[in-house]
């Protein structure tokens, strides 16, 4: 009897632990999904800032999760893309980089995180294309290459690369053959992409669809 008791108590405790673990996981995933949705769809700076703040709160509480930092950085990139003032744009991108560094220390050098770093470098160009273009375009292309080398199936590294290639071909008035090749590959990867992580990055499809018009 005693033995059974111990076992039942033990298993009950285990169950409780498992349950609470699951509960926090569910809480984490739900909170994340809500805010990820906002950074993907936000229409205003205030909305983005709010979502980024929420993601940073989650990141501060969940010390072993890389996703909050990743999405907070993505949110800052979105804020930078809406900002006209160069200095402010840079400060958002600085914040994005800080988040990327945090995500890197938790998740190692993940292909998705590296691709996001390339996105920041690409955005840096828009602050002062004349001065920064030559330097950052090379750097961004190299970073996208690095992300693809880490995971050839990462469609975001490819679609961002295609975006850069479109920019250069437009500048030089040359045919966008390279860009369209990269884009086609990105589209295939998007179609094949499947992840068991409900919080895995999903963005980039729309960017690809928009770019496809330039190839047809």
């Amino acid at each position: 009897m005693k033995k059974v008791n111990i076992i039942s108590i033990l298993s009950a405790t285990l169950l409780l632990v498992a349950h609470s673990l699951l509960a926090t996981d569910i809480q984490y995933i739900e909170a994340m999904q809500k805010n990820i949705h906002v950074v993907y769809t936000a229409q205003s700076m205030a909305e983005l800032q709010e979502a980024v703040n929420a993601l940073q709160r989650i990141g501060a509480a969940e010390k072993n999760k890389w996703e909050p930092h990743y999405y907070a950085s993505f949110g800052y990139i979105m804020m930078a893309s809406r900002e006209q003032d160069g200095a402010k744009k840079d400060s958002y991108l600085d914040q994005a980089m800080a988040g990327i560094e945090k995500a890197k220390t938790i998740n190692g050098n993940d292909s998705e995180v590296v691709a996001l770093e390339g996105f920041v470098q690409m955005m840096r160009i828009t602050v002062d294309p004349g001065t920064r273009g030559p330097q950052y375009s090379g750097l961004a292309m190299q970073t996208f290459g690095k992300a693809s080398a880490m995971n050839p199936d990462n469609p975001r590294a490819l679609v961002l690369k295609a975006q850069m290639q479109f920019g250069t071909s437009k500048f030089f008035g040359s045919p966008a053959t390279d860009a369209c090749e990269t884009l086609d590959l990105a589209v295939t990867k998007f179609e094949a992409s499947a992840s068991t992580n409900p919080l895995a990055p999903q963005w980039g499809r729309e960017m690809a669809t928009a770019l496809q018009h330039e190839c047809n």
């Binding site: 709160r57 002062d128 001065t131 030559p134 330097q135 750097l139 500048f171």
Partner: protein, 711 residues
């Protein structure tokens, strides 16, 4: 059981609300207000208010965060249903917002947007042909001295402007050239991420510079792997950069031979062997540990030329002048943080210059070796006070031997050791007002004297886009090596700077006006005109007003700037019998730089117009000293960079397209001719124009980079 839990937790719900304001009581929207280690929190609204509900109990830390403000932390006890917290955020002294000291300083940094002169400008300024000094000569405070090519700042001689790389001094920053032909800086602009050019009042960190400090910061970020090939009308170069995750190595080999060019275009100079130079540059960068960075920079150069110097009285009499120069510069530096507040920067540099000159049958062998070691600590004493302090040692060994006709020898030399320490504090009263106070202590072994040089400056924001800045400082520099080698007891030459500056930057348009007064003391003078009897009895002054206007906003794809400097200077030094304006000083200096990017032809077209009033020269046929005046100087230079493909650049530049015959001064014969007069010869440009053509090819894996920034 579970329901009880839920019930009890709903009882413990606490609503936290309040308002976030800044130092002025203005609301700060978007602030992230939350309880530490929980998801519970909210962003403040447009009026600064916030409200959120938490289920946490007991003691907790309430945190508020927003860009540009210090983190706010306040412990709260969650014992009531409703807690109201008023949050007042304190502004951080941020690089983005804080006022910077602009008196005397032109800071260029491509990473920061708030620069009025960019590192990339060096490459794209017409007439500069990618020479650092050439580009800086279009800024106020400089005097164009055409036959020298060096920097002359505010009435100072060229040796008074010193170059520092990553904080380490460079001995002889210019290529060796024939007398009266312009030299180029030894350092390629593309190696640097930023330059800080100061025309006075600079930090106590920089010693041994009397008039100007040009501080070059080498790149520290690993770049992309690439190979660059340049085919130039005067030679060629190959460069390769290999980048890895946390570091990179880059090397460049350049060969220039001006002979084919001189064969085509008639030169004023009677070359025997036109200048030929081989140069190798190496850069290595590696991140170490969490935030340490090791940088190494090396420059090796070998150059030679020979020419015939014709006698002024009798052009048929000529003398051979042959020079071979070897140059090495090595610089290693390490920077790392010690803790969150303090960082350390250590560096070691080595310069070696050897000149072997043959003048007809006489041989002059000259060598200078310099070692500079420095350690600087930087950190914050409090939120608003930053300290920078360091020590350094500069060792300079100079030797010169003259072998007269191979049968008699004359040698002189010196070994100088300068030990110095400095400390400087930045006190930020607010983002609007900063004061920098520093002092520098220097000891020189040759004189056995120690000197203290106080320096101070301040800047105040008078509006959102305007500011005033003021600087004062004492500066000293050992006399030129050829003088110290004659009299080792010579004291350092000294100068006091006093600068007042007003600057306004708005929408990529900059307006700047600056006025200054500079006093020279202890300048080296020939006693009774005897160049072997040297004393520190020389004196002088310089004063002036300078204007700068830059606009890359008003006209699309156009960037232009305008500089004007007025200079009034007189000095008594070297062979001057009394106070006079030196030959390198011009009263009015004007530059207009224009750059236009034309997207339809993927080209950047630019021109630079420079004008200076006449320069003084001394006519020995008259009783007065330095009273002659040359005609004015004017130059219109143009350049075009064309990108036919993303990895290919075609570059053409031409100086003095109008072909003006500029006269920089006159050389007088040392002996009188038959009529008892000293004959003269004008010092002119070697050729009216200099045409440069280049093809630059970049090979990289992704074909997206080119050499545009390095041009």
């Amino acid at each position: 059981m579970l329901s009880v839990f839920v019930f009890s937790s709903s009882v413990c719900q606490v609503t936290i609300s309040g308002r976030v304001t800044d130092g002025q009581g203005e609301p700060v929207p978007g602030t992230n207000v939350f309880l530490k280690d929980t998801y519970d929190g909210a962003s403040s609204l447009g009026d600064g208010s916030f409200e959120f509900i938490t289920t946490a109990v007991g003691k907790a830390d309430l945190i508020a965060k927003f860009i540009g403000y210090r983190d706010f932390v306040q412990p709260v006890l969650l014992d009531a249903q409703r807690i109201v917290v008023e949050i007042r955020l304190e502004e951080t002294i941020s690089e983005l917002k804080a006022v910077t000291i602009t008196a005397g300083a032109f800071t260029a940094n491509d990473a920061s947007r708030r620069t009025i002169f960019k590192a990339a400008d060096i490459a794209s300024t017409a007439g500069a042909t990618a020479d650092i000094a050439g580009a800086l000569n279009t800024l106020p405070g400089t005097q164009k001295v055409g036959e020298s090519g060096r920097l002359f700042v505010r009435g100072g001689d060229s040796n008074e402007a010193r170059t520092f790389i990553d904080g380490m001094v460079v001995l002889d920053a210019y290529n060796t050239t024939a007398p009266n032909t312009p030299s180029r800086g030894r350092f390629l602009p593309f190696m640097f991420k930023g330059t800080s050019f100061s025309t006075g009042g600079y930090s106590a960190e920089y010693g041994q510079a009397l008039s100007s400090a040009l501080v070059l910061d080498s790149k520290d970020k690993a770049e992309s792997t690439r190979t660059d090939i340049g085919i130039l009308s005067v030679g060629g170069d190959v460069a390769h950069t290999q980048a890895w995750d946390r570091g990179s190595v880059a090397g460049k080999i350049q060969y220039t031979n001006i002979r084919p060019y001189f064969g085509l275009i008639n030169q004023e100079i009677d070359w025997k062997t036109p200048p030929e130079s081989t140069e190798a540059v190496g850069v290595f960068r590696q991140q170490v540990g969490k935030d340490g960075l090791f940088k190494f920079y090396g420059n090796f150069n070998h150059s030679n030329f020979s020419l015939y110097h014709h006698d002024i009285n009798d052009n048929g009499v000529k003398q051979l002048y042959d020079l071979t120069n070897n140059y090495r510069y090595l610089n290693g530096s390490y920077i790392s943080s010690i803790n969150e507040k303090w960082s350390v920067h250590g560096g070691l540099s080595y310069s070696y210059i050897q000149n072997n000159t043959q003048i007809e049958f006489d041989n002059i062998l000259e060598s200078e070796k310099g070692i500079h070691a420095k350690t600087v600590f930087e950190g914050s004493l409090s939120v608003r006070v930053e300290l920078k302090t360091g020590i350094e040692v500069m060792q300079r060994n100079y030797a010169k031997s003259i072998y007269f006709n191979a049968d008699s020898t004359y040698s002189h030399w010196f070994n100088e050791l300068i030990a110095a320490g400095f400390a400087e504090v930045y006190i930020y009263a607010s983002n609007k007002f900063v004061v920098r106070i520093g002092t520098r202590l220097e000891y020189c072994n040759l004189t056995g004297k120690a000197g203290v040089d106080p320096r101070g400056s301040l800047a105040y924001k008078t509006g959102a886009t305007s500011q005033v800045s003021f600087a004062y400082g004492k500066f000293r520099q050992s006399a030129k090596h050829n003088l110290v080698s004659i009299n080792q007891a010579l004291d350092a030459e000294k100068a006091d700077h006093l600068i007042l500056n007003y600057q306004r930057v708005e929408n990529n348009r900059t307006f700047r006006v600056e006025t200054y007064y500079k006093r020279y003391e202890d300048l080296v003078k020939y006693e009774n005109g005897n160049p072997l009897l040297l004393t520190n009895t020389g004196k002088g002054f310089a004063r002036g007003v300078e204007l700068f206007w830059r606009d890359n906003h008003s006209i699309k794809n156009v960037d232009y700037w305008f500089s004007y400097s007025f200079l009034d200077t007189k000095r008594e030094y070297l062979d001057f019998p009394h106070r006079a304006t030196p030959a390198f000083a011009t009263a009015h200096n004007l530059s207009f730089v224009y750059k236009h990017f034309v997207p339809s032809i993927r080209s950047q077209v630019g021109f630079t117009y420079s004008y200076t009033t006449g320069r003084p020269f001394n006519d020995p046929n008259t009783a007065s000293f330095n009273k002659g005046k040359t005609p004015y100087y004017a130059d219109l230079s143009v350049n075009v960079a064309y990108l036919p493909r993303q990895f290919l650049i075609l570059y053409v530049s031409c100086t003095n397209v109008l072909g003006r015959d500029n006269i920089f001064g006159y050389e007088y014969s040392t002996t009188t001719d038959g009529t008892g007069a000293y004959r003269r010869r004008a010092i002119r440009q070697a050729a009216p124009r200099f045409l440069f053509l280049g093809i630059f090819i970049t090979l990289s894996k992704d074909k997206s980079v080119n050499q545009l920034p390095s041009l």
